[in-house]
Amino acid sequence: MSVPGGSTVRGAVRFADTFGRRLGGGTIGSVPVVLGLLAIWAVFQILNPHFLSPRNLSNLSVDIVGTGMLALGVIFVLLVGEIDLSVGSVSGLASALYAVLNVNLGMAEPPAIVLGVLCGTAVGFVHGFFTAVVGVPAFVVTLAGLLGWYGLMLFIMGTYGTINLNDQGLVAQLTNYYFSDVAAAYALAALGTAGYFLTAWRGVKRRRAAGVPTRPPAVIALRTGALAVIAFAAAYVLNRFQGLPLALLIFLVVLVVLDYVLRRTTYGRMIFALGGGVEAARRAGINVAWVRTSAFMMSSTMAAIGGLFLASRINSVSQTSVTTDLLMNAIAAAVIGGTSLFGGRGSTWSALLGVLVIQSIASGVALMDIQTAVQFMITGGVLLLAVVIDSLSHRAQRAHGRA
């Protein structure tokens, strides 16, 4: 390695290796993004003192949910080493279906919501079938989906340009309801912290009983402490505005449940296995076609759920509610948060971190009254940086293994 970049690459190798050992596999990516998020917040706060106000942060915590749900689904597809370009269109399709059924055809809300979400699941099955069974590259299948499902949405909407949702309906409440009782946010913070601590502690006890090395208790204490600080600070800030938003609560619950599914269940292990080596997964007896299809179904289902949150945020569904930056933001959020485009590395927490970065930039730019052009450029730059870090750590890991 006599090229000038050699020492930089070796430095990156050491960097990634150290972090890899300390943080274990998939969480390498979350260190840069946390630092980046703090930097973004600091810069916008200096430029505009309203940025870190409870009102703005509370709005931010609701704004992230729609795109965040989409990003959660995208993570499943990225983990198996595929891509889904249709999530924006699918979210629009699901919300349009729900609105037409509920508002125009008078169907009760719960079945309309279920049908909207199931429509997303069905779309994912179609994508999965053509990708995993027929063997068409996911890029092309979901690009066709991007166009096709958008067309279907326009068709369903028919002559209605915009459908306004019922103000008091379930979907409208998704992003408009706040637990105004101060106790709610603190209870959630306490529950989250205690839940983490008890799970970690039970793990240590079980591992000790089985005679397997455990993580040092100091690390658990430190992590619990950090989590408590973040959770209670967030609760404090939210309570200074309108309290805990229902949307944020739902998002966090979905995130934690999906995290558990990915890291602690056989299904999650199969998802990771596909991303790490399709041939190895196939020889291990994993039904590759089914797992791949299920990832697309997860992606489209989450897109449909996200679509309902996005519709709730503006209290209407319109033909123009599907924008290309919704799709880009969802994928960018997953990648910025640290989920690898190469498959097999990532976690649901990257959806939260990534979407926080993207929405923070959008919110900061909006507060400062600059053109959206600047927002696109900044987000683009951050995405490029995230992909560079992803590529470097990918290469570093391989280089280390061969050494």
């Binding site: 596999g25 089985a210 990771f272 190895a280 997964a281 293994g401």
Partner: protein, 260 residues
């Protein structure tokens, strides 16, 4: 060592396999006993890998009989072979780079209760298995992408052993390894024999073959071309059997001179 009267672990006879216009295997036979290491050697394209795939059920034979411990069986898919107790370690190892050692060992047969992984028990068993095989891996919770070639090979072999097989097939286990790592893998092969397993070792390296194998089965152009006892056969004889050089003017001349 196996009793002479015991039926062989695996006995193949009259195995034919054709890929399109290519006759890959012609009337091949092979016997493997428990507690024996059989080296399967042959030049490139001799049909070694095809034979392994036939036994592993990946590419079932067109015709031929397979007997497992004296009983005729049919191996039509990988699952059949695994069910009998045949484990295969392919040359490309087939590990998931992003999973740790524990995850790879248990891939596809994770210990779980209602779908929830029992990581603690899997790690305990992994450590126990690695300890009985005297395998040293710095951290079983590191992704295998960060392990060395030899360590990856031992992980792949341990993975095969987890199902407690009776026959292990190793496809070129030392091909990409350095001297030290090769020695570690060969040690591991000997420990498999000590545990009473049958081992089918495919190798190009006759040094490795002489070091660990009990018998050498030679394939040439898809046919059996000799079955030798390693202790009484010279390397030259094996080489000439592999290359077919035993049947040409030079060897006939040497043979004649030997008779004189």
């Amino acid at each position: 060592m196996a009793q002479p009267s015991a039926p062989p672990l695996l006995a193949l006879s009259g195995v034919f396999k054709r890929f399109g216009a290519v006759q890959a295997l012609t009337d091949v036979e092979l016997e493997i006993h428990a507690g024996e290491v059989i080296a399967l050697v042959g030049d490139n394209g001799a049909g070694k890998s095809t034979l392994v795939k036939v036994i592993a059920g990946v590419e079932p034979a067109d015709t031929g009989t397979v007997e497992w411990r004296g009983h005729p069986v049919h191996i039509g898919r990988p699952h059949d072979a695994q069910h009998l107790g045949i484990a295969t370690v392919y040359q490309d190892l087939a590990l998931c780079d992003n999973l740790d050692v524990v995850g790879n060992l248990f891939l596809g047969r994770e210990l779980s209760r209602i779908g929830v992984l029992d990581e603690v028990e899997m790690e305990r068993r992994t450590r126990a298995l690695l300890a009985t095989l005297s395998i040293r891996i710095p951290d079983v919770r590191r992704p295998v992408v960060s392990l060395s070639g030899g360590q990856r090979q031992t992980v792949a072999i341990s993975r095969a052993l987890l199902g407690e097989p009776r026959l292990v097939m190793l496809d070129e286990p030392t091909a990409a390894l350095g001297i030290e790592q090769t020695a570690q893998v060969l040690d591991l092969v000997e420990r498999l024999r000590e545990r009473g397993l049958g081992v089918l070792l495919i190798s190009h390296n006759l040094g490795d073959v002489k070091a660990v194998a009990d018998w050498v089965a030679v394939l040439r152009l898809g046919r059996n071309n000799g079955f030798f006892d390693v202790t009484t056969t010279s390397q030259e004889q094996i080489v000439s059997s592999i290359t077919g050089a035993s049947d040409n003017a030079v060897t006939r001349r040497v043979a004649r001179e030997g008779e004189l």
